[in-house]
Amino acid sequence: MTTPLAHYLILAALLFGVGLAGALARRNAILVLVGLELMFNAANLNFIAFWRFGPRPEALTGLMFVLFSIAIGAAEAAIGLALVIAIYRHRRTAQVDRFDSLKG
């Protein structure tokens, strides 16, 4: 007896919702990035779950997609955190509502 697919999908949906709410509601740019990573991970979980329950798991398609997706996530985190550090050096703050130089 294994866990049905719907449970994994519901976990991924909850994780995505937490990440989305955090990315929209938190003030600190680092935590906005953490929220993005949580949403990314929710999508990866969906890929793995559909691959495992799909009709032809031996083709390894979902697994491959997740491996590439993890690499993209690493690149995104590195660039995003470098941007946070660069902005902090100029503005001495990491709060997103203080990044308002371009505001009309």
Binding site: L11, A25, L38, N41, I72, A78
Partner: protein, 172 residues
């Protein structure tokens, strides 16, 4: 039954870590809770017979990205929230509302799908040897592209975060 209990434990660890990472006030605690959430997801990947993805997740997310986030938190120490100041932005209500709405839509769609109740028929074997063969044959172009992208992204991150040299005085 055992499988179900293991899944519930891992899911609880993941969700608790995610919620704590998004709600706690201390940024260092947030980064550590996010690492816990990533580790819980890695355990779920292992449970789903995706050993390679699980260990890759553990290495990349818990080992690298969580530590990178922690370093950034420590490097932007002065940005820490003053005690008494708001931790959430002014759009807090809207953010929570949008998050709840999206989650409700997704869960409603999952509950309404009849095809998702089924159980996985058999154990799936995804040995590392087969993954390597696929990466070297069918997916060799994406592999090259991702290598190039990672190199460019890491060089770009170093250049962006590099301290700018002080301006030279104008030549007489």
């Amino acid at each position: 039954m055992l499988n179900e209990i293991a899944f519930l434990l891992c899911a609880a660890l993941t969700l608790a870590g995610a919620v704590a990472a998004m709600t706690l006030r201390n940024l260092a605690h947030c980064a550590l809770c996010a690492a816990g959430a990533f580790a819980g997801l890695a355990a779920i990947y292992l449970q789903l017979d995706a050993e390679f993805a699980g260990f890759a997740q553990l290495l990349v997310y818990v080992g690298a990205i969580a530590i990178l986030i922690l370093f950034t938190v420590l490097l932007t120490r002065g940005a820490e929230i003053q005690p008494g100041g708001p931790a959430a932005s002014t759009s807090r209500g809207m953010g929570l509302g949008v998050g709840a709405l999206v989650t409700a839509c997704l869960i409603g769609a999952i509950m309404a799908s009849p095809g998702l109740r089924g159980h996985a028929p058999q154990t799936v074997h995804a040995p590392v040897k087969r993954i390597g063969e696929q990466l070297m044959n069918q997916y060799v172009m994406p592999l090259e592209a991702i290598g190039l992208l990672l190199t460019a992204a890491l060089l770009g991150a170093v250049i962006i975060a590099l301290r700018e040299p002080p301006k030279e005085p104008p030549a007489p």
